[in-house]
Assembly symmetry: C2
Homo-oligomer: 252 residues x 2
């Protein structure tokens, strides 16, 4: 059901003129590097919300950069329980782990309609052989993703339901903000409550109740699929997250 709605064709912007790159989240790159990245990229692909980008167990996965839309990595147990490992936003690498390891140990699913820059697996090795700076940045981005999973594990292991929700909302807010996706305190928030529950290790019912409680307590509001954070500092304090400005990161 998933690969049928893949569409290639619309080529996307040339990397030299990539609008995503202008966002504050990202470092500057030299024209040389950008041309190299452009040469690495073989396709620009669109997928519908709900599609599998990488399915569990897939071998020889390609490497992508998420150009537009949201996605998430997840891991399932044989009996159907599912853990969402982390959420991917524009500019994030998709499938680095799957393209380095022999087989994907997780799945990646599109949360909204997405657009992907496609880098074939073989060229990942070229990148290491010929562009050590980019290879270093690839490893850097991998470590950053691991740090995000570390955070989520700490949240799921140590925080109660309200704190987990607060931590999730705050961290997505900050990441969306760095991408220019926040306007007037609100941003598109496409996660369903079931997905929030799967990300936080909570049941759907308890997630729903705790989510309502935080809404009614004035932490945030939802309307039209957009979430408005009413008091970011309060929410951050509830989750025991203290401000730390994040340096710009590489975009490949």
């Amino acid at each position: 059901m998933t690969y049928l709605n893949a569409r290639a064709g619309r080529p996307g912007p040339p990397c030299l003129a990539c609008p995503l790159r202008l966002k504050p989240a990202f470092e500057d790159k030299s024209d040389d590097e950008l041309s190299f990245i452009q040469a690495l990229k073989t396709d620009h692909r669109s997928l519908a919300a709900g599609s599998d980008i990488i399915h569990p167990g897939q071998e020889n996965a390609e490497l992508y950069t998420l150009y537009a839309g949201w996605a998430f990595r997840y891991k399932s147990l044989p009996d159907g329980r599912r853990q969402i490992l982390n959420v991917l936003l524009p500019g994030d690498l998709v499938g680095l782990q799957a393209s380095l390891l022999a087989a994907a140990e997780h799945g990646i699913e599109a949360l909204t309609d997405v657009e992907l820059c496609v880098f074939p697996r073989k060229r990942v090795w070229d990148l290491f052989a010929r562009m050590p700076k980019l290879a270093y940045e690839l490893a850097w981005l991998g470590s950053r993703e691991e740090a995000m999973v570390d955070d989520n594990l700490t949240s799921v292991g140590q925080r109660n339901a309200g704190e987990r929700i607060a931590a999730l909302v705050i961290s997505l807010y900050r990441r969306a903000d760095a991408l220019g996706l926040v306007s007037e305190g609100s941003f598109a928030f496409p996660l369903s409550q079931q997905q929030i529950a799967d990300a936080l290790g909570l049941s759907l019912v308890h997630t729903s109740k705790t989510w309502s409680k935080l809404r009614k307590a004035g932490f945030f509001a939802m309307a039209g699929g957009r979430l408005t954070l009413l008091n970011p500092r309060l929410t951050a304090r509830m989750a025991a997250i203290y401000d730390s400005a994040k340096a710009p990161r590489p975009l490949i």
Copy 2:
């Protein structure tokens, strides 16, 4: 308190004759690569159990390979709650994330007395510039570590207390086995119950009760700091972990 008991000096074996490398867990490497690794390595360091190898927030962390002993990565919340992110066994990289990112977002502590091969931070870049194959393997090892954190997050988010303990014990058993640390079904198991609790997101008391229950149910036995797995397949089934042989990995 921690750096005082660091001891350098005892040089450790030359990489060309590294006994760890002979274990089934690791790939073969060419003499060229081994000499390169040897040149990268500036020190062989011993630390006592309980020492900080990398402390939270540390900048310019060095990169290590754990040569002997056990360690763990952890992350603390401001109020003192602590999550153990993953356990490190001989051959694992220590501090890759900390050496790539600007500052460590986690701490790493020696669980037993440990010996470390020291690679200064600057030379990590040399490795990318001059030995792309090793750089690729470094990224590969980073992805493998992320996969372990993924597993732990799935465990903490989705499994109940008994399943979590079973999953932890089984995965450590398998890793120890690949390193030749298992003899007659038993291996040294240095985690305290508090550390198990911190790794699994459980309270100490509940960990103790669940641990006893599994022992009494005949899953495993402890004696003299060694754990004997009485029925590995049963334990794996309880944790809903199905066998998958792991390919050998690079040792740097």
